[in-house]
Protein backbone atom coordinates (compact mmCIF):
# COMPACT_ATOMS: atom_id res chain seq x y z
CA UNK A 1 0.00 0.00 0.00
CA UNK A 2 2.41 2.70 1.17
CA UNK A 3 5.11 1.08 -0.89
CA UNK A 4 4.56 3.09 -4.05
CA UNK A 5 5.13 6.46 -2.42
CA UNK A 6 7.75 8.41 -4.32
CA UNK A 7 10.26 9.35 -1.64
CA UNK A 8 13.29 11.58 -2.05
CA UNK A 9 15.94 11.72 0.63
CA UNK A 10 18.11 14.82 0.92
CA UNK A 11 21.58 14.22 2.30
CA UNK A 12 24.29 16.74 3.22
CA UNK A 13 26.89 17.38 0.53
CA UNK A 14 29.73 17.01 3.00
CA UNK A 15 30.75 14.35 5.51
CA UNK A 16 29.09 14.76 8.88
CA UNK A 17 27.03 12.96 11.50
CA UNK A 18 24.01 14.04 9.53
CA UNK A 19 25.28 12.31 6.39
CA UNK A 20 25.78 9.10 8.38
CA UNK A 21 22.24 9.37 9.63
CA UNK A 22 20.98 9.96 6.11
CA UNK A 23 22.77 6.78 4.94
CA UNK A 24 21.21 4.80 7.77
CA UNK A 25 17.79 6.18 6.94
CA UNK A 26 18.30 5.30 3.28
CA UNK A 27 19.11 1.70 4.17
CA UNK A 28 16.17 1.49 6.57
CA UNK A 29 13.64 2.68 4.02
CA UNK A 30 14.97 0.28 1.39
CA UNK A 31 14.83 -2.63 3.86
CA UNK A 32 11.25 -1.77 4.69
CA UNK A 33 10.44 -1.97 0.99
CA UNK A 34 9.96 1.70 0.21
CA UNK A 35 10.89 2.98 -3.17
CA UNK A 36 13.42 5.77 -2.90
CA UNK A 37 13.36 7.59 -6.20
CA UNK A 38 16.56 9.39 -5.28
CA UNK A 39 18.97 10.41 -2.58
CA UNK A 40 19.99 13.93 -3.46
CA UNK A 41 22.83 16.06 -2.17
CA UNK A 42 21.82 19.38 -0.61
CA UNK A 43 23.47 21.49 -3.30
CA UNK A 44 22.44 24.15 -5.80
CA UNK A 45 20.88 21.57 -8.14
CA UNK A 46 18.39 20.34 -5.55
CA UNK A 47 15.39 22.40 -6.76
CA UNK A 48 15.78 21.25 -10.38
CA UNK A 49 16.17 17.61 -9.42
CA UNK A 50 13.09 17.76 -7.23
CA UNK A 51 11.11 19.46 -10.00
CA UNK A 52 12.09 16.61 -12.36
CA UNK A 53 11.36 13.83 -9.89
CA UNK A 54 8.07 15.18 -8.50
CA UNK A 55 8.26 13.20 -5.26
CA UNK A 56 5.34 12.68 -2.88
CA UNK A 57 7.58 13.07 0.10
CA UNK A 58 10.93 14.67 0.75
CA UNK A 59 12.75 13.59 3.89
CA UNK A 60 15.51 15.78 5.23
CA UNK A 61 17.48 16.09 8.44
CA UNK A 62 15.83 18.76 10.59
CA UNK A 63 19.23 20.36 11.15
CA UNK A 64 20.11 20.53 7.44
CA UNK A 65 20.68 23.95 5.92
CA UNK A 66 18.80 22.65 2.87
CA UNK A 67 15.62 23.24 4.88
CA UNK A 68 15.37 26.79 3.56
CA UNK A 69 15.89 25.63 -0.03
CA UNK A 70 13.02 23.16 0.39
CA UNK A 71 10.95 25.91 1.93
CA UNK A 72 11.34 27.87 -1.30
CA UNK A 73 10.24 24.85 -3.36
CA UNK A 74 7.24 24.35 -1.09
CA UNK A 75 6.10 27.93 -1.59
CA UNK A 76 6.95 28.16 -5.29
CA UNK A 77 4.96 25.01 -6.14
CA UNK A 78 2.08 25.51 -3.78
CA UNK A 79 -0.47 26.04 -6.52
CA UNK A 80 0.25 22.87 -8.44
CA UNK A 81 1.24 20.33 -5.86
CA UNK A 82 0.82 22.05 -2.54
CA UNK A 83 3.41 20.20 -0.52
CA UNK A 84 3.22 20.93 3.15
CA UNK A 85 5.49 20.64 6.10
CA UNK A 86 4.99 17.52 8.11
CA UNK A 87 4.30 18.91 11.53
CA UNK A 88 1.64 21.25 10.27
CA UNK A 89 -0.55 18.17 9.71
CA UNK A 90 -3.40 18.05 12.15
CA UNK A 91 -2.74 14.41 12.87
CA UNK A 92 -0.28 14.66 15.72
CA UNK A 93 0.42 11.10 16.70
CA UNK A 94 3.15 10.46 19.21
CA UNK A 95 5.22 8.54 16.66
CA UNK A 96 5.35 11.53 14.32
CA UNK A 97 6.33 13.84 17.11
CA UNK A 98 8.98 11.41 18.20
CA UNK A 99 10.29 11.24 14.65
CA UNK A 100 10.47 15.01 14.52
CA UNK A 101 12.25 15.18 17.85
CA UNK A 102 14.71 12.61 16.59
CA UNK A 103 15.58 14.97 13.77
CA UNK A 104 13.48 13.78 10.85
CA UNK A 105 11.76 16.46 8.86
CA UNK A 106 9.52 15.66 5.95
CA UNK A 107 7.91 17.76 3.25
CA UNK A 108 4.86 16.03 1.92
CA UNK A 109 2.33 16.59 -0.80
CA UNK A 110 -0.92 17.82 0.71
CA UNK A 111 -3.75 15.37 0.57
CA UNK A 112 -1.44 12.48 1.26
CA UNK A 113 -3.22 10.63 4.04
CA UNK A 114 -1.49 10.54 7.43
CA UNK A 115 -1.85 6.76 7.59
CA UNK A 116 0.42 6.51 4.55
CA UNK A 117 2.99 8.86 6.02
CA UNK A 118 3.16 7.30 9.46
CA UNK A 119 4.81 4.01 8.54
CA UNK A 120 7.52 5.80 6.59
CA UNK A 121 8.31 8.06 9.49
CA UNK A 122 8.21 5.11 11.84
CA UNK A 123 10.90 3.47 9.76
CA UNK A 124 12.83 6.71 9.81
CA UNK A 125 12.45 6.96 13.56
CA UNK A 126 13.54 3.38 14.18
CA UNK A 127 16.60 3.97 12.02
CA UNK A 128 17.55 7.16 13.80
CA UNK A 129 17.22 5.46 17.17
CA UNK A 130 19.32 2.49 16.05
CA UNK A 131 21.95 4.76 14.55
CA UNK A 132 22.01 6.89 17.66
CA UNK A 133 22.47 3.80 19.83
CA UNK A 134 25.33 2.58 17.64
CA UNK A 135 27.03 5.95 17.78
CA UNK A 136 26.70 6.03 21.56
CA UNK A 137 28.09 2.51 21.86
CA UNK A 138 30.97 3.41 19.60
CA UNK A 139 31.78 6.48 21.69
CA UNK A 140 31.57 4.38 24.84
CA UNK A 141 33.91 1.74 23.43
CA UNK A 142 36.41 4.37 22.31
CA UNK A 143 36.30 5.91 25.76
CA UNK A 144 36.88 2.56 27.49
CA UNK A 145 39.73 1.77 25.16
CA UNK A 146 41.36 5.10 25.93
CA UNK A 147 40.93 4.49 29.66
CA UNK A 148 42.53 1.04 29.39
CA UNK A 149 45.53 2.53 27.62
CA UNK A 150 46.05 5.02 30.42
CA UNK A 151 45.81 2.30 33.06
CA UNK A 152 48.27 0.12 31.13
CA UNK A 153 50.77 2.96 30.82
CA UNK A 154 50.50 3.73 34.55
CA UNK A 155 51.00 0.06 35.36
CA UNK A 156 54.08 -0.03 33.13
CA UNK A 157 55.48 2.99 34.91
CA UNK A 158 55.00 1.42 38.35
CA UNK A 159 56.55 -1.80 37.12
CA UNK A 160 59.68 -0.14 35.71
CA UNK A 161 60.09 2.45 38.49
CA UNK A 162 59.34 0.27 41.47
CA UNK A 163 60.10 -3.17 40.18
CA UNK A 164 56.55 -4.38 40.66
CA UNK A 165 54.93 -7.25 38.86
CA UNK A 166 51.93 -6.42 36.73
CA UNK A 167 49.58 -7.81 39.36
CA UNK A 168 51.24 -5.74 42.12
CA UNK A 169 51.11 -2.60 40.00
CA UNK A 170 47.42 -3.18 39.34
CA UNK A 171 46.66 -3.75 43.02
CA UNK A 172 48.54 -0.56 43.92
CA UNK A 173 46.48 1.44 41.45
CA UNK A 174 43.27 -0.07 42.77
CA UNK A 175 44.15 0.72 46.40
CA UNK A 176 45.07 4.31 45.51
CA UNK A 177 41.86 4.74 43.54
CA UNK A 178 39.76 3.43 46.43
CA UNK A 179 41.54 5.56 49.03
CA UNK A 180 41.12 8.72 46.97
CA UNK A 181 37.61 7.75 45.81
CA UNK A 182 38.65 8.13 42.17
CA UNK A 183 38.17 6.00 39.10
CA UNK A 184 41.03 3.70 38.17
CA UNK A 185 41.63 5.60 34.94
CA UNK A 186 41.68 8.94 36.77
CA UNK A 187 44.29 7.84 39.29
CA UNK A 188 46.33 6.34 36.43
CA UNK A 189 46.17 9.66 34.60
CA UNK A 190 47.36 11.50 37.71
CA UNK A 191 50.36 9.22 38.00
CA UNK A 192 51.21 9.87 34.34
CA UNK A 193 50.75 13.64 34.83
CA UNK A 194 53.09 13.66 37.80
CA UNK A 195 55.61 11.67 35.81
CA UNK A 196 55.36 14.22 32.99
CA UNK A 197 55.83 17.07 35.43
CA UNK A 198 58.82 15.63 37.27
CA UNK A 199 60.23 13.94 34.18
Amino acid sequence: MSRNLRIVLVHPHHESDASQRACALHAGLLEAGYELVASLPADIHLPERIAQLQPDMIIVDAESDARDVLEHIVIATRDERRPIVMFTEDDKTSSMEAALEAGVSAYIVAGLKPERIKPVLNVALARFRKEEKLLLELADTKHKLAERKVVDRAKGLLMSRHGMTEEQAYQRLRTMAMNKKLKLADIAQRILDVEDLLG
Binding site: I44, A62, D65, R67, D68, E71, H72, I75, V85, F87
Partner: protein, 377 residues
Protein backbone atom coordinates in the same frame (compact mmCIF):
# COMPACT_ATOMS: atom_id res chain seq x y z
CA UNK B 1 7.78 40.73 39.66
CA UNK B 2 8.11 36.99 39.17
CA UNK B 3 10.23 35.88 36.21
CA UNK B 4 8.27 32.90 34.86
CA UNK B 5 11.24 31.20 33.25
CA UNK B 6 14.81 32.09 34.20
CA UNK B 7 16.66 30.16 31.52
CA UNK B 8 15.71 31.20 27.99
CA UNK B 9 16.85 29.35 24.89
CA UNK B 10 17.58 31.82 22.10
CA UNK B 11 18.26 30.71 18.55
CA UNK B 12 20.53 32.55 16.14
CA UNK B 13 22.03 32.02 12.70
CA UNK B 14 25.74 32.68 12.08
CA UNK B 15 25.46 36.21 10.67
CA UNK B 16 26.87 39.54 11.80
CA UNK B 17 23.48 40.69 12.99
CA UNK B 18 23.27 38.00 15.67
CA UNK B 19 25.58 40.33 17.62
CA UNK B 20 23.21 41.92 20.13
CA UNK B 21 21.68 38.62 21.15
CA UNK B 22 25.13 37.08 21.56
CA UNK B 23 26.56 40.06 23.44
CA UNK B 24 23.56 40.17 25.80
CA UNK B 25 24.69 36.75 26.94
CA UNK B 26 28.48 37.25 26.72
CA UNK B 27 28.46 40.55 28.65
CA UNK B 28 25.96 39.31 31.22
CA UNK B 29 23.18 41.81 30.48
CA UNK B 30 20.84 38.83 30.82
CA UNK B 31 21.79 38.23 34.47
CA UNK B 32 21.35 41.89 35.25
CA UNK B 33 17.69 41.41 34.36
CA UNK B 34 17.25 38.12 36.19
CA UNK B 35 17.42 35.70 33.29
CA UNK B 36 20.04 33.47 31.73
CA UNK B 37 20.29 33.31 27.92
CA UNK B 38 21.29 29.95 26.50
CA UNK B 39 22.35 30.49 22.89
CA UNK B 40 21.55 27.91 20.26
CA UNK B 41 23.32 28.12 16.89
CA UNK B 42 20.91 27.15 14.14
CA UNK B 43 21.41 25.93 10.58
CA UNK B 44 18.30 27.22 8.81
CA UNK B 45 15.51 29.76 9.14
CA UNK B 46 12.91 27.04 8.62
CA UNK B 47 14.48 25.29 11.60
CA UNK B 48 14.25 28.46 13.69
CA UNK B 49 10.58 28.86 12.83
CA UNK B 50 9.74 25.25 13.64
CA UNK B 51 11.59 25.35 16.94
CA UNK B 52 9.79 28.55 17.96
CA UNK B 53 6.49 26.89 17.12
CA UNK B 54 7.26 23.64 18.97
CA UNK B 55 8.79 25.45 21.94
CA UNK B 56 12.26 23.99 21.47
CA UNK B 57 13.43 27.62 21.32
CA UNK B 58 11.87 30.34 23.47
CA UNK B 59 12.88 33.21 21.19
CA UNK B 60 15.25 33.78 18.28
CA UNK B 61 16.98 36.20 15.98
CA UNK B 62 14.56 35.96 13.07
CA UNK B 63 14.03 37.42 9.62
CA UNK B 64 11.38 40.13 9.99
CA UNK B 65 9.33 38.77 7.13
CA UNK B 66 9.50 35.18 8.31
CA UNK B 67 7.61 36.02 11.50
CA UNK B 68 4.77 37.48 9.41
CA UNK B 69 4.96 34.61 6.92
CA UNK B 70 4.38 32.19 9.79
CA UNK B 71 1.60 34.34 11.26
CA UNK B 72 -0.16 34.31 7.87
CA UNK B 73 0.56 30.66 7.01
CA UNK B 74 2.88 31.13 4.02
CA UNK B 75 4.63 27.78 3.52
CA UNK B 76 3.46 26.46 6.86
CA UNK B 77 0.26 26.36 8.82
CA UNK B 78 -0.75 29.66 10.46
CA UNK B 79 0.75 30.06 13.88
CA UNK B 80 0.40 33.08 16.12
CA UNK B 81 3.76 34.78 16.41
CA UNK B 82 5.25 37.76 18.17
CA UNK B 83 7.83 40.43 17.36
CA UNK B 84 9.42 41.55 20.64
CA UNK B 85 11.81 44.12 19.18
CA UNK B 86 13.84 44.99 16.11
CA UNK B 87 17.43 43.76 16.50
CA UNK B 88 19.21 45.80 13.85
CA UNK B 89 18.93 48.04 10.84
CA UNK B 90 20.91 48.01 7.56
CA UNK B 91 24.02 46.01 6.70
CA UNK B 92 22.84 43.51 4.06
CA UNK B 93 24.02 43.65 0.46
CA UNK B 94 23.42 42.60 -3.12
CA UNK B 95 26.44 40.99 -4.73
CA UNK B 96 26.95 40.25 -8.44
CA UNK B 97 29.48 37.81 -9.79
CA UNK B 98 32.79 39.13 -11.07
CA UNK B 99 31.87 37.63 -14.44
CA UNK B 100 28.75 39.77 -14.64
CA UNK B 101 30.73 42.82 -13.58
CA UNK B 102 33.28 42.17 -16.34
CA UNK B 103 30.37 41.95 -18.79
CA UNK B 104 29.41 45.47 -17.72
CA UNK B 105 26.96 45.05 -14.83
CA UNK B 106 28.36 47.42 -12.21
CA UNK B 107 25.09 48.83 -10.85
CA UNK B 108 21.34 48.54 -11.27
CA UNK B 109 20.89 50.28 -14.64
CA UNK B 110 23.86 48.50 -16.26
CA UNK B 111 22.59 45.15 -14.96
CA UNK B 112 19.19 45.86 -16.51
CA UNK B 113 20.90 46.82 -19.80
CA UNK B 114 23.01 43.65 -19.79
CA UNK B 115 19.97 41.48 -19.11
CA UNK B 116 18.15 43.18 -22.01
CA UNK B 117 21.05 42.83 -24.46
CA UNK B 118 22.30 39.37 -23.58
CA UNK B 119 19.23 37.27 -23.13
CA UNK B 120 19.49 34.11 -21.05
CA UNK B 121 18.19 32.97 -17.70
CA UNK B 122 19.73 35.03 -14.93
CA UNK B 123 19.75 33.42 -11.49
CA UNK B 124 19.69 35.39 -8.25
CA UNK B 125 19.72 33.87 -4.81
CA UNK B 126 18.23 34.95 -1.51
CA UNK B 127 18.11 33.25 1.86
CA UNK B 128 14.46 32.48 2.58
CA UNK B 129 11.30 32.90 0.48
CA UNK B 130 9.55 35.24 2.93
CA UNK B 131 12.78 36.66 4.34
CA UNK B 132 14.18 40.14 4.27
CA UNK B 133 16.84 39.29 1.64
CA UNK B 134 14.21 38.05 -0.79
CA UNK B 135 12.31 41.30 -0.30
CA UNK B 136 15.41 43.54 -0.72
CA UNK B 137 16.47 41.60 -3.82
CA UNK B 138 13.03 41.71 -5.45
CA UNK B 139 12.52 45.38 -4.57
CA UNK B 140 15.91 46.35 -5.96
CA UNK B 141 15.55 44.36 -9.18
CA UNK B 142 12.06 45.77 -9.74
CA UNK B 143 13.36 49.31 -9.14
CA UNK B 144 15.72 48.68 -12.10
CA UNK B 145 12.79 47.56 -14.24
CA UNK B 146 13.64 43.86 -13.87
CA UNK B 147 10.74 41.57 -12.94
CA UNK B 148 12.35 39.35 -10.29
CA UNK B 149 9.90 36.49 -10.77
CA UNK B 150 9.52 36.43 -14.56
CA UNK B 151 12.56 38.28 -15.88
CA UNK B 152 14.96 36.23 -13.74
CA UNK B 153 15.04 33.09 -11.66
CA UNK B 154 15.00 33.54 -7.90
CA UNK B 155 16.26 30.71 -5.74
CA UNK B 156 16.99 30.14 -2.07
CA UNK B 157 20.56 29.26 -1.07
CA UNK B 158 21.94 28.99 2.49
CA UNK B 159 24.13 32.08 3.21
CA UNK B 160 27.30 30.07 3.80
CA UNK B 161 27.02 28.54 0.31
CA UNK B 162 26.51 31.84 -1.54
CA UNK B 163 30.15 32.68 -2.29
CA UNK B 164 30.95 29.14 -3.41
CA UNK B 165 28.01 28.97 -5.79
CA UNK B 166 28.81 32.41 -7.17
CA UNK B 167 32.41 31.32 -7.79
CA UNK B 168 31.23 28.13 -9.49
CA UNK B 169 29.03 30.12 -11.87
CA UNK B 170 25.83 28.51 -10.58
CA UNK B 171 24.27 31.92 -10.13
CA UNK B 172 24.70 35.54 -11.13
CA UNK B 173 24.17 37.29 -7.84
CA UNK B 174 22.78 37.08 -4.36
CA UNK B 175 21.35 39.08 -1.53
CA UNK B 176 22.40 38.02 1.95
CA UNK B 177 23.41 39.37 5.31
CA UNK B 178 26.97 40.20 6.21
CA UNK B 179 29.62 38.91 6.40
CA UNK B 180 28.79 37.23 3.05
CA UNK B 181 28.74 40.35 0.87
CA UNK B 182 32.13 41.46 2.10
CA UNK B 183 33.44 37.89 1.99
CA UNK B 184 32.67 37.72 -1.76
CA UNK B 185 34.59 40.97 -2.27
CA UNK B 186 37.52 39.80 -0.10
CA UNK B 187 37.76 36.55 -2.03
CA UNK B 188 37.60 38.35 -5.37
CA UNK B 189 34.47 36.40 -6.34
CA UNK B 190 31.88 39.14 -6.43
CA UNK B 191 31.20 42.87 -6.26
CA UNK B 192 28.75 44.84 -4.14
CA UNK B 193 26.31 46.61 -6.45
CA UNK B 194 23.90 47.73 -3.77
CA UNK B 195 23.74 47.82 -0.01
CA UNK B 196 20.37 47.20 1.59
CA UNK B 197 20.57 50.67 3.15
CA UNK B 198 20.66 52.10 -0.40
CA UNK B 199 17.36 50.32 -1.04
CA UNK B 200 15.82 51.59 2.18
CA UNK B 201 17.96 53.76 4.47
CA UNK B 202 17.53 52.51 8.04
CA UNK B 203 15.39 49.57 7.02
CA UNK B 204 14.30 47.04 9.64
CA UNK B 205 16.12 43.72 9.41
CA UNK B 206 16.24 40.97 12.04
CA UNK B 207 13.82 40.88 14.94
CA UNK B 208 13.66 39.11 18.23
CA UNK B 209 10.81 36.73 17.45
CA UNK B 210 8.85 34.27 19.54
CA UNK B 211 5.59 32.37 19.43
CA UNK B 212 2.62 34.31 20.77
CA UNK B 213 1.93 31.47 23.21
CA UNK B 214 5.38 31.81 24.77
CA UNK B 215 5.06 35.58 25.15
CA UNK B 216 1.58 35.34 26.66
CA UNK B 217 2.71 32.78 29.21
CA UNK B 218 6.02 34.52 30.04
CA UNK B 219 5.56 38.30 29.88
CA UNK B 220 8.10 39.04 32.62
CA UNK B 221 10.71 36.80 31.05
CA UNK B 222 10.15 38.50 27.69
CA UNK B 223 10.38 41.97 29.24
CA UNK B 224 13.69 41.03 30.86
CA UNK B 225 14.93 39.57 27.58
CA UNK B 226 14.07 42.69 25.60
CA UNK B 227 15.77 44.88 28.24
CA UNK B 228 18.92 42.73 28.14
CA UNK B 229 19.16 42.83 24.34
CA UNK B 230 18.46 46.58 24.33
CA UNK B 231 21.41 47.07 26.67
CA UNK B 232 23.60 44.89 24.45
CA UNK B 233 22.62 46.91 21.37
CA UNK B 234 23.34 50.15 23.20
CA UNK B 235 26.74 48.81 24.23
CA UNK B 236 27.63 47.79 20.65
CA UNK B 237 26.62 51.16 19.20
CA UNK B 238 28.35 53.14 21.97
CA UNK B 239 31.82 53.22 20.32
CA UNK B 240 34.02 51.86 17.55
CA UNK B 241 36.03 50.16 20.29
CA UNK B 242 32.99 48.22 21.41
CA UNK B 243 32.22 47.27 17.82
CA UNK B 244 35.75 45.95 17.43
CA UNK B 245 35.39 43.87 20.57
CA UNK B 246 32.04 42.62 19.38
CA UNK B 247 33.54 41.59 16.01
CA UNK B 248 36.31 39.74 17.84
CA UNK B 249 33.80 37.74 19.85
CA UNK B 250 31.17 36.95 17.24
CA UNK B 251 33.83 35.88 14.71
CA UNK B 252 34.52 32.94 17.06
CA UNK B 253 33.71 29.37 16.23
CA UNK B 254 30.69 29.27 18.52
CA UNK B 255 29.06 32.15 16.65
CA UNK B 256 29.69 33.32 13.07
CA UNK B 257 32.84 31.21 12.72
CA UNK B 258 34.76 33.37 10.25
CA UNK B 259 37.73 35.77 10.07
CA UNK B 260 37.27 38.91 12.08
CA UNK B 261 38.40 40.70 8.90
CA UNK B 262 35.23 39.56 7.13
CA UNK B 263 33.04 41.21 9.77
CA UNK B 264 34.89 44.28 10.98
CA UNK B 265 35.12 46.78 8.07
CA UNK B 266 31.42 46.94 7.27
CA UNK B 267 30.23 47.19 10.87
CA UNK B 268 32.57 50.19 11.12
CA UNK B 269 30.88 51.57 7.99
CA UNK B 270 33.97 51.01 5.83
CA UNK B 271 32.76 49.69 2.51
CA UNK B 272 34.70 48.43 -0.47
CA UNK B 273 32.59 47.40 -3.45
CA UNK B 274 35.30 45.27 -5.07
CA UNK B 275 35.36 47.59 -8.08
CA UNK B 276 37.75 50.15 -6.68
CA UNK B 277 35.29 52.29 -4.78
CA UNK B 278 35.70 52.70 -1.03
CA UNK B 279 33.51 54.81 1.16
CA UNK B 280 32.43 55.54 4.70
CA UNK B 281 28.78 54.56 4.76
CA UNK B 282 26.32 56.88 6.45
CA UNK B 283 23.89 54.04 7.30
CA UNK B 284 25.93 50.99 8.31
CA UNK B 285 24.49 48.13 10.33
CA UNK B 286 23.37 49.44 13.70
CA UNK B 287 21.93 47.80 16.75
CA UNK B 288 20.49 50.65 18.78
CA UNK B 289 20.47 54.27 17.47
CA UNK B 290 19.26 55.45 20.89
CA UNK B 291 16.43 52.97 20.65
CA UNK B 292 15.18 54.05 17.20
CA UNK B 293 16.68 50.92 15.64
CA UNK B 294 14.99 48.66 18.18
CA UNK B 295 11.46 50.05 18.23
CA UNK B 296 9.18 47.64 16.34
CA UNK B 297 7.31 50.17 14.23
CA UNK B 298 3.93 48.88 13.07
CA UNK B 299 4.67 50.34 9.63
CA UNK B 300 7.85 48.21 9.39
CA UNK B 301 5.93 45.00 9.98
CA UNK B 302 3.17 46.07 7.62
CA UNK B 303 5.67 46.72 4.84
CA UNK B 304 6.64 43.05 4.67
CA UNK B 305 2.99 42.08 4.31
CA UNK B 306 2.56 44.56 1.43
CA UNK B 307 5.51 42.97 -0.34
CA UNK B 308 4.12 39.45 0.22
CA UNK B 309 0.94 40.64 -1.47
CA UNK B 310 2.96 42.32 -4.22
CA UNK B 311 4.82 39.11 -5.08
CA UNK B 312 1.87 36.77 -4.77
CA UNK B 313 3.03 35.10 -1.58
CA UNK B 314 -0.32 36.24 -0.23
CA UNK B 315 -3.26 35.61 -2.57
CA UNK B 316 -5.38 38.32 -0.97
CA UNK B 317 -4.82 41.35 1.22
CA UNK B 318 -4.53 40.38 4.87
CA UNK B 319 -6.00 42.60 7.59
CA UNK B 320 -2.79 44.61 7.66
CA UNK B 321 -3.40 46.69 10.72
CA UNK B 322 -4.90 43.98 12.88
CA UNK B 323 -2.11 41.57 11.99
CA UNK B 324 0.64 44.10 12.70
CA UNK B 325 -0.93 45.03 16.03
CA UNK B 326 -1.37 41.40 17.02
CA UNK B 327 2.21 40.43 16.18
CA UNK B 328 4.04 43.51 17.49
CA UNK B 329 4.23 43.58 21.28
CA UNK B 330 4.44 47.35 21.64
CA UNK B 331 3.32 47.46 25.27
CA UNK B 332 5.89 44.89 26.35
CA UNK B 333 8.58 46.73 24.40
CA UNK B 334 7.68 50.05 26.05
CA UNK B 335 7.87 48.55 29.51
CA UNK B 336 11.21 46.90 28.77
CA UNK B 337 12.59 50.12 27.27
CA UNK B 338 11.64 51.92 30.47
CA UNK B 339 13.49 49.34 32.55
CA UNK B 340 16.58 49.72 30.35
CA UNK B 341 16.28 53.51 30.22
CA UNK B 342 15.80 53.59 26.46
CA UNK B 343 13.74 56.28 24.72
CA UNK B 344 10.58 55.21 22.92
CA UNK B 345 9.38 57.14 19.83
CA UNK B 346 6.05 58.93 20.17
CA UNK B 347 4.64 57.46 16.96
CA UNK B 348 4.18 53.78 16.16
CA UNK B 349 4.63 54.40 12.41
CA UNK B 350 7.41 56.15 10.51
CA UNK B 351 7.88 57.53 7.02
CA UNK B 352 10.65 56.30 4.70
CA UNK B 353 11.62 56.96 1.10
CA UNK B 354 12.84 53.88 -0.72
CA UNK B 355 15.24 53.55 -3.68
CA UNK B 356 12.50 54.01 -6.28
CA UNK B 357 11.40 57.29 -4.72
CA UNK B 358 8.24 55.80 -3.24
CA UNK B 359 7.27 56.85 0.24
CA UNK B 360 6.08 54.28 2.77
CA UNK B 361 4.47 55.62 5.92
CA UNK B 362 2.19 52.74 6.88
CA UNK B 363 -0.95 54.42 5.53
CA UNK B 364 -3.17 52.59 3.04
CA UNK B 365 -1.21 49.36 2.67
CA UNK B 366 -3.75 47.89 0.23
CA UNK B 367 -3.17 50.70 -2.22
CA UNK B 368 0.60 50.66 -1.68
CA UNK B 369 0.84 46.89 -2.29
CA UNK B 370 -0.92 47.13 -5.65
CA UNK B 371 0.59 50.43 -6.79
CA UNK B 372 3.88 48.99 -8.08
CA UNK B 373 4.17 48.68 -11.87
CA UNK B 374 6.15 45.47 -11.46
CA UNK B 375 4.29 42.94 -9.33
CA UNK B 376 2.71 39.53 -9.65
CA UNK B 377 -0.69 40.02 -11.28
Amino acid sequence: MQIEKQTVRIGFNPLTDCASVVMASVLGFDERHGIRIVLSKETSWAGVRDKLVTGELDAAQALYGMVYGTQLGIGSQCHDMAVLMNLNRNGQAITLSKRLMEAGAVDGPSLAALMRDERRQYVFAQTFPTGTHAMWLYYWLAAQGIDPLHGARAITVPPAQMVYNLAEGHMDGFCAGEPWGHRAVMDGIGVTVATSQQIWPDHPEKVLGASAAFVDAHPNTCRALIAAVLEAGRWIDASAENRRAMAEIIAGQAYVNTDKAAILPRILGRYDDGMGRQWQDSHPMCFHQDGAANYPYLSDGTWFMTQFRRWGLLKAHPDYERTARAVTRLQLYREAAEVAGVAVPAQSTRSSTLIDGRVWDGADPEHYATSFPIRLR
